[in-house]
Subunit: 346 residues, 2 copies
Amino acid sequence: MPRKVTSFDVARLAGVSQPTVSRALRNLPGTSPGTRERVLEAARELAYVTSDRGRSLSMRSTQRIAIVSEELTNPYYPELVEPLRRELAHRGYRTVLVADHADGNPVGLDALTDGSYDGVILTTTRRRSPLPRDLTERGVPHVLANRLLDQPEASCCGIDNAAGARQVSDLLAALGHERIGVIQGPVDTSTGKERAEGLAAGLRGRGIGVRRELTRQAPYTHDAGRAAAHELLRLGRPPTAIVCGNDVVALGVLSAARERGISVPVDLTVIGFDDIPMAGWPLVALTTVHCDLQALARMTVELLMDRLENPDRAPVERRIRPSLVLRGTHAAVRGDGRVPPPAAVS
Amino acid sequence: MPRKVTSFDVARLAGVSQPTVSRALRNLPGTSPGTRERVLEAARELAYVTSDRGRSLSMRSTQRIAIVSEELTNPYYPELVEPLRRELAHRGYRTVLVADHADGNPVGLDALTDGSYDGVILTTTRRRSPLPRDLTERGVPHVLANRLLDQPEASCCGIDNAAGARQVSDLLAALGHERIGVIQGPVDTSTGKERAEGLAAGLRGRGIGVRRELTRQAPYTHDAGRAAAHELLRLGRPPTAIVCGNDVVALGVLSAARERGISVPVDLTVIGFDDIPMAGWPLVALTTVHCDLQALARMTVELLMDRLENPDRAPVERRIRPSLVLRGTHAAVRGDGRVPPPAAVS
DNA sequence: GGCTTTTGTGTATACGTATACCTGTCAACA
DNA sequence: TGTTGACAGGTATACGTATACACAAAAGCC
């Protein structure tokens, strides 16, 4: 087993000193073309790769960004992480995913502050999470993506959830729905709170009230959405439409409807939020609110770069405007007229 | 902005030398209880966190394992990564996800050999990928999970795909299907090859032939499965059952069937492979082959630990046995008798 | 109470790279 | 031809931790 090859080995083979190797390999000025060529040749021959540990220690920078997220089994987050990764790679940073709740314990603050990362992107932060403040105190640059804090302690980039919810309420009003069920997300998340409040406000503006007995709260999972939907659908007078905290919950509602033999959209309208790819599959054809995660990622990374360069600047907040996507799970309330056809044959 | 606090700062505050701090914080023998207490107190007061860069450089070990995988937007991989992460965390390792094809280029070999990781787990390797050999040459311990190589160059842990495919063929034969469509995975993946061959062998054993005109090949995506299914379903005599390379492809087939107004399972039986969580949703209720990814992860990590401790031992191969899961997308061929009911109401 | 053995802690150094600084060479210029 | 300056490349050191080794003090032994 050959010992790991270092820049000293390359230097010896090329007949130069170690710093010259460092300069030549990075194309810094102050190296003659001939020497540079000899160094490159030697490095190639030895299959030399610069040690990330040595470089990081010496440069006081790892060129790595941590993305903190709940388990990736929620299909929304890979969709958010991928454009973030791409955007960061484009700027020369590697991305590292850090699980939010490793085996039940909250995220290890130490793991984020041990110098492994130049910055942190938080994606599943709760409204009152102490994590951003902790990171600030320890001097780790960070921004929030997707979710926001109650207090503007950090720069953040989110979706304009109120605007999205308003579009949903406009659609439901236009379709004549009045008994509207709501399965909102967790209230300790900004998305859960903003979407629920935006929907209530939008419906109120159309003269429609949201009734407490038709409202449920569920974490962002299929099973929670399914369970909540069963509760609503077995009521004496079930809702004619169910608005969900996000798409995954909406998929749970569709599962519940399937189990009860309720036809969507004929007997029940279901609306999601996020527009994950699955929502666009003909099998699902979910009417939902589309969020441009490319734009969200671009803006988030921009904000992070700003934090890295100007750590003391005041935090800012940005919003991406979403748009309604009409697919196959909405229809006018029964007896009210025509029903849109299901997805067309391609 | 306070300068990053080091073990020297802690040492000064505690009135000891830097090495004593190192020893005390790690509970090494050779430190008196009184001194240890003073050091811990000082570390707490300064909110000291051991620098990962310094420790890694000094210890020649990062306690990090890289998991190389295609984009996480394929729902299978988060399901595999999560138990791997858990298993590795249990043994004191952090996990880092490395994208297989960052922006189109093959995975950066340098990124895996720059000393950032103590070992590598490859999850989406092709049958003839040069990556394992390269890693061996550069002395980076590694194992394969899920997929295998043609040449046994590395330790690996996979599913017994042939056994799973045989169970599928037994089921189809029992249901009376004879015109069987196959949408197999990429032939340059071991999973694609083994499942297709296993199915053909199993059916042949039951006196059923797999016809070339009913066979398609598709990458492991929903859209590819959907397109292939449309091809098969618009044939003059379409198949009565379609066996898919994996669940995601099967979901594409279900989408295509929905688009064409074909009823599953009455008019078409669809079989997947993997049993991703989505397959169990009542909305989908996919009949498929279940793979125990917990077991796969446990075995994989075991193999990797063995590589870390005995780098020169010969590679080994392990297989996890899968099992058929009967849900709602299979039925006896039409006109043959009774049809199993769809999923029951809960 | 002299001897060895153990124990606690400090000193020196390694890990692999990057960079401030210094030196020597050579071209340009008067 | 002596002076200046640019430039190539070497020397020394920093980054933050871990550990081999030295050394002094304390403890055990007769």
